[in-house]
């Protein structure tokens, strides 16, 4: 069973340092490779041109500035598929969100390089200390119209895919099963309302021992992201989640499944997901709900259809035993 809730970096106490070191090495090599290429292609001719004008002293400053800008650029592009980004998406909505984010990051990066390329060129060349005399222009209607219209076009380009995803994520119709999640101070309650597993009902509480929180015991891999009873769902089925709360606001959030919805006392909201792969996906309450807001995680376990059927049978017979005991006690 794979565990996707924690990103790709496995962290088990002693491995932390090692993992970080491996990451850092990868990063360094990668940076070196890319920056050499970038320098050859883009930077070098520019440096020669400018250094002819401003002399050798300027050159080192220019290199430093450009290096800074490119480091920042690489820093952001490096994000793909690492702990610098969203967790690996496990549903269609999460996938679309992930791709949209990457794609908008590239647009932002292009604008960033464009705007600050101009600005830093200006900072280097149009300075009093190199004897540059100020011009006196102060407006140009044409230029101003151009730089109003171009951002509008870019925004439309961004808005189109976003609109499609919004419409898709709001469509909770024709689901295969429905689960109600209720936020309490400070745990989650789940009721399987419809579909396979109907009638199952349980609470889900943080299972991290108090000693770990108080630093009296070593912290485990799933520190604060583990519960006593996981929400179990079948793979590939459209699950509609109805969300409400019992006391204050909470929010039901599982990043890898692309789902976050506030839980509002007295009102019902809904959302949906279809998990692509079996696995365990972890999330947390995302709306401040008081003292133990940080201690009410959400853990969704996605099972293959057969295993899920077995799990449902076990749950239902257990609850049948519980009910009959209840009746006998009466």
């Amino acid at each position: 069973m794979r565990d996707f809730g924690k990103g790709n970096v496995a962290i088990v106490n002693n491995d932390v340092v090692l993992t970080n070191r491996i990451l850092a090495d990868d990063l360094r090599n990668w940076l070196k490779r890319i920056s050499v290429q970038v320098c050859n292609v883009l930077v070098a001719p520019e440096i020669c041109k400018i250094s002819n004008h401003v002399g050798g002293n300027m050159r080192s400053k220019l290199v430093a500035t450009l290096a800074g800008v490119f480091t920042l650029a690489l820093y952001s592009s490096m994000a793909v598929g690492s702990k610098y980004n969203f967790p690996e998406p496990q549903s269609i909505i999460a996938r679309e969100t992930y791709d949209m984010h990457i794609w908008i990051m590239w647009i932002c990066l292009a604008i960033f390089v464009g705007v600050f390329g101009v600005m830093f060129y200006s900072i280097l060349k149009h300075r009093k200390s190199v004897g540059y005399k100020a011009a006196n222009f102060h407006h140009s209607t044409t230029v101003e119209i151009i730089w109003t219209v171009i951002p509008c076009i870019i925004l439309v380009v961004m808005a189109v895919p976003a609109t499609k995803t919004v419409i898709a994520m709001k469509d909770t119709s024709s689901s295969d099963m429905t689960i109600k999640a209720t936020g309490y101070q400070w745990m989650w309650g789940y009721d399987y309302l419809q579909g396979e597993g109907e009638g199952i009902s349980f609470f889900s509480k943080l299972s991290t021992p108090r000693a770990q929180i108080e630093n009296k015991a070593p912290k485990g891999e799933n520190y604060l992201l583990e519960v006593d009873n996981r929400v179990v769902v079948p793979v590939g089925k459209k699950v509609r989640v109805i969300i409400t709360a019992n006391d204050v606001l909470h929010a039901w959030w599982v990043p890898a499944l692309g789902v976050k919805q506030d839980a509002i006392p007295g009102f019902i909201r809904d959302t949906w997901f279809t998990a692509d792969k079996a696995g365990i996906y972890r999330g947390q309450c995302a709306e401040l709900c008081g003292k133990d807001h940080g201690y009410m995680p959400i853990v969704v376990e996605v099972m293959e259809a057969g295993e899920y059927t077995k799990w449902v049978a076990a749950q239902l017979s257990a609850s049948a035993i519980k009910t009959s005991m209840h009746i006998e006690n009466k």
Partner: protein, 528 residues
């Protein structure tokens, strides 16, 4: 210079003023009141900063070390409230007090006595807010947005916070009515609206926003108060109310509030960049229109703070489009600043460094703003550290950096003394370094799934949190350097030349001596 009274004449006026503490309590002089606003906001900045240090100390490592969860929540709540209402907003009012009359050629603010009152309300409100830590149950712990029903649960601290917000709101409304009246009625002959310095324009628009939204905030906290104590059910579903309605009303105030804190920064930066580029501001009128468009748009985007609260598809789409649209006038501003620098003759004194730092980092905050506007992405990053990073990029490296730029820029005019340029540059570079160390990594924390307002976290977030905490401690210490620079300047700075910045063109530099006399422009200058 004709606008200024001769020395003997000027002293004649001052003789009637009380001295010592009573001078400050009874003063109606815009410069005295401006000074008090600035010192007050810096004191609040240190208090709010201390709370931030507490938060980052707790988050330095996983596990609970210093602050128990309940106290941690009080720290985050009061950090937000104090920084927004106690530090950033009064600091801008302080700048408006000092600068607006001098920049438009007026002798003082329109309502001088009300000006005194709007300042002296602030220490009262601050006492209630900070004092709430010491009442039974402690301070409010429901976040600076104090969403019910959680804020209905709190103790006496929440009530103190509500009264404090009422008082701060009254102070802001009085301050902004004063600013509007001053700007509309007391401009020197010849200074038409479209000749006003951009700082004055941005404050005029900000003041209108304040008058529009502060009563809404007062209303919503009053409803919260009656829900808590008088049996109403505005926000209680069991009594027919709706907790989400609170969020709508709060953010109807809250989003324009964000622009209240950034528009005057745009004004300061629009004064500093042309001065140090020795070139007029590019696209003055489009800057004015952009500011006005941002203000109008800011009133119709509030629900983008609530994409996860649940709303109809058309609602989400409308608020997404409206929010994205704000990028256009904001972009125009950034392009105009760049065009102002283009082919200028730039020097890089501390005010200019902070102004450039402002543009650079504010644009990063703008990009993450566009990303947050996209509904599917926002739903993922809502209430995570990504949002924390985003709004600190626009509030700290935005508003605060602009305030620093303004302070270094005008301190020679205010005191007649120069600050230490070397230390000023150290202040800038250290702030720049530590700010990014603190907040850049928080983007990654948010993307990877760390919620905000939690005192403890999974081990996968440990390294970035440690980096962020170290950055925050550095940033906090660096601001003590600013305090030192300012005190050093006021006490023993070198005498400032009449015109310390050769590119400055606004009235306070061209028509008044340095330092500016206690009473300036008793006879208005003629603006051509």
């Amino acid at each position: 210079m004709a606008a200024v009274h001769g020395d003997a004449h000027g002293h004649g006026h001052d003789d009637h003023h009380p001295s010592g503490i009573m001078r400050w309590v009874t003063t109606t002089n815009h410069k005295d009141i401006g000074t008090m606003y600035l010192w007050f906001s810096f004191a609040m900045f240190l208090v709010g900063g201390t709370l931030a240090m507490g938060i980052r100390a707790e988050l330095y490592q996983p596990g609970i070390q210093i602050l128990e969860p309940e106290l941690f929540n009080q720290f985050t709540t009061l950090h937000g409230l104090i920084m927004v209402f106690g530090a950033i907003m009064p600091a801008f009012v302080g700048f408006a007090n000092w600068q607006v009359p001098m920049m438009i050629g007026a002798p003082d603010m329109a309502f001088a006595r009300m000006n005194n009152w709007s300042f002296w309300l602030l220490p009262v409100a601050a006492t209630l807010l900070v004092g709430s830590f010491f009442v039974p149950g402690g301070a409010a712990a429901g976040g600076w947005t104090f969403y019910p029903p959680l804020s209905t649960q709190g103790g006496l601290g929440v009530d103190l916070m509500i009264f404090s917000v009422h008082i701060l709101g009254a102070s802001s409304i009085m301050g902004s009515i004063n600013i509007i009246t001053t700007i509309l009625n007391m401009r020197a002959p010849g200074m038409t609206m479209m000749k006003m310095p951009l700082f004055v324009w941005t404050w005029l628009i900000t003041a209108y926003l304040l008058v529009l939204v502060m009563p809404v905030l007062a209303g919503v906290v009053t409803m919260l108060l009656t829900d808590r104590h008088f049996g109403t059910s505005f926000f209680n579903a069991a009594g027919g109310g709706d907790p989400v309605m609170f969020q709508h009303i709060f953010w109807f105030f809250g989003h324009p509030e964000v622009y209240i804190m950034i528009l005057p920064s745009f004004g300061i930066v629009s004064e500093v960049i042309p001065t140090f580029s020795r070139k007029p501001l590019f696209g003055y009128s489009s800057m004015v229109y952009a500011t006005a468009s941002i203000a109008i748009l800011s009133c119709v985007v509030w629900a983008h703070h609530m994409f996860t609260a649940g709303m109809p598809t058309v609602g989400q789409l409308f608020f997404m489009y409206a929010t994205m649209l704000i990028a256009v006038p904001t972009g125009v501003k950034v392009f105009n600043w760049t065009a102002t620098m283009w082919r200028g003759s730039m020097t890089f004194e501390t005010p200019m460094l902070f102004a450039i730092g402002f543009i650079f980092l504010f644009v990063i905050g703008g990009f993450s703003g566009v990303i947050c506007a996209i509904v599917p992405i926002d739903i993922q990053v809502q209430d995570t550290y990504y949002v924390i990073a985003h709004f600190h990029y626009v509030l700290v490296s935005g508003s605060l950096f602009a305030l620093f730029a303004g302070a270094y820029y005008w301190i020679p005019k205010w005191t007649g003394r120069m600050y230490n340029e070397t230390l000023g540059k150290w202040h800038f570079w250290l702030s720049m370094f530590f700010f990014n160390l603190t907040f850049f990594v928080q983007h990654f924390l948010g993307l990877a799934g760390m919620p905000r307002r939690i005192p403890d976290y999974n081990l996968q977030f440990a390294d970035f949190n440690m980096i962020s905490s170290l950055g925050a401690f550095g940033f906090g210490l660096t601001q003590l350097l600013f305090l030192y620079i300012m005190i050093n300047c006021i006490r023993s700075g070198e005498k400032a030349p009449q015109m310390p910045w050769d590119g400055a063109t606004t009235l306070e530099w061209t028509h008044l001596p340095t330092p500016a006399p206690y009473h300036s422009f008793e006879n208005p200058p003629i603006v051509k």
